[in-house]
Symmetry: C2
Subunit: 193 residues, 2 copies
Amino acid sequence: MNTAYHHGNLRQALLDRATETVSEKGVEGLSLRGLARDLGVSHAAPLRHFATKAELLNAIAVEGVGSLIEATGGVDAHPSGVARLRAMVLAYVDWAIANSELHHILRNPDVMRHASDDLTALLATFADRQRQEIKAAQESDWRTDTDPEVLFLHLVSLTAGTAIVTTEEIYKRRVAAPETRSKVEASIDLFLG
Amino acid sequence: MNTAYHHGNLRQALLDRATETVSEKGVEGLSLRGLARDLGVSHAAPLRHFATKAELLNAIAVEGVGSLIEATGGVDAHPSGVARLRAMVLAYVDWAIANSELHHILRNPDVMRHASDDLTALLATFADRQRQEIKAAQESDWRTDTDPEVLFLHLVSLTAGTAIVTTEEIYKRRVAAPETRSKVEASIDLFLG
DNA sequence: TTTAGGATGTTGTCAATGTCTACATAGGTC
DNA sequence: GACCTATGTAGACATTGACAACATCCTAAA
C-alpha cells in the first residue's frame, strides 16, 4: 500500500514537480538535482525512476497526452458528426488552456525529440480519433466534396494552431483577447459551420 | 574589411554553426563550449559576442524572424486582397519548410522565454502585417460579415498550425504526405476560398 | 518466521558545461 | 608612436547529468 521507502511515492512526486518547474523555467531550467533538492531526497534518487532527464520529460509527455485523450473523450454523447467534431476541437483547446504547462511540454521539440514508442503510439491514437471524427462528419453530410485528408490536415493545423495561439505567451497578448473563448468558437465555426 | 582578430567573423560563424547544431541536437544539445571547439577558438571566446546562451539563441531567433518577414514580403505584387493573403500564408509555410531549423527555433519555448525587445518588436511587426492583409481582403469583399479579430485569430492559428504540422517530425509522417504542398493549398483555400 | 532478492535511496565521483575574472594582443585613432 | 577598445585566451568555480558502490526497506518463498 502506497509502499515505497523513504519518500512514499517519489516517482509521481517527480513528475508533478518537474511539470511545475518546466512550466516556470523551461526544459533548460529543469535539473534532476534541483528536483531532488525540492523533494528532499538525495541527488541521485531520481535516477532510480528515470535513468535520464529525457526519460523524465518523456514520461511527463505520456501523462500529458493521456490526459488530453481523456479530456477529448467525452464527446460521444453528441448526435451529429459535426457537433462531435466541434466538441472535440473545443475540448482540445480548453484542455490546452487549463493545462498549459503540459501543453507546452508536448510542444517542446526537446521533449519530442526523444519520444518513446509509448508516446508516439498515444499520439497516433489521438490522430486516428481525429481522422475518424472527420469521416463521421462527412457521413452526416458535412463538406462531402472535400478530400478527407485535406480536411484532416486542416483540422490538425487549426486545432494545434488555436491551442498554441491562445496559450503561448508570445501570441496570447497579441491575439484574441479579450473574450478569447468566444472568438475561438467563432473561429472554429468558420471551418465547421 | 572582414576585420576581426584571430577568427575573422566569429559572431556570424557562431550564429550559423549554432543554428545547425540546434536543428541537429536541439537546444539541449547546443553548448557554447562545443561551439567554440567546432570553430577552433577558446572556450570563452563566444562570450565576447553573446554573454549567455540565451542571448545567442535570441539572436538566432531575430535572424529567423527577419528572414521570415523578408520571405513573406514579396507579396505586394498581387492585386486582390485575398490573393495577397493567400500568397502570404503560402510564403510562410514554404519558408517554414525551407528553413525548418530556424522555424523550430522560433517555436522553442526555451528560446522565446528569453525573447528580447528586438525580437518581440519584430514579431509584432509581422502580426501587424497579417492584420493589415486581413483588412485589405475584407475591403475587397472577402468575408465582410465576420469580425476581423476572429479572422485574425483564425489566420494566425491556421498559419502557425500548418507550418508546424508540415514541418515537425511527429506530425509530418502522419499528416498530408504525399503531395503535402498541394494539400496545404487546398486546406488554406478552405479558409480563403 | 526467517531469509534471499529486488526495489528504492544514499554517498562518492567524474567529465562537461555556463559563466566569471584576469590577462594578452590586434587595429584603429589622436 | 602611444593609447584604447574590440576581440580572444587561460584559469577557476559551482552546477549538472550520469555512473558505481553501498545501504536499507519490502515482499515472497522456504
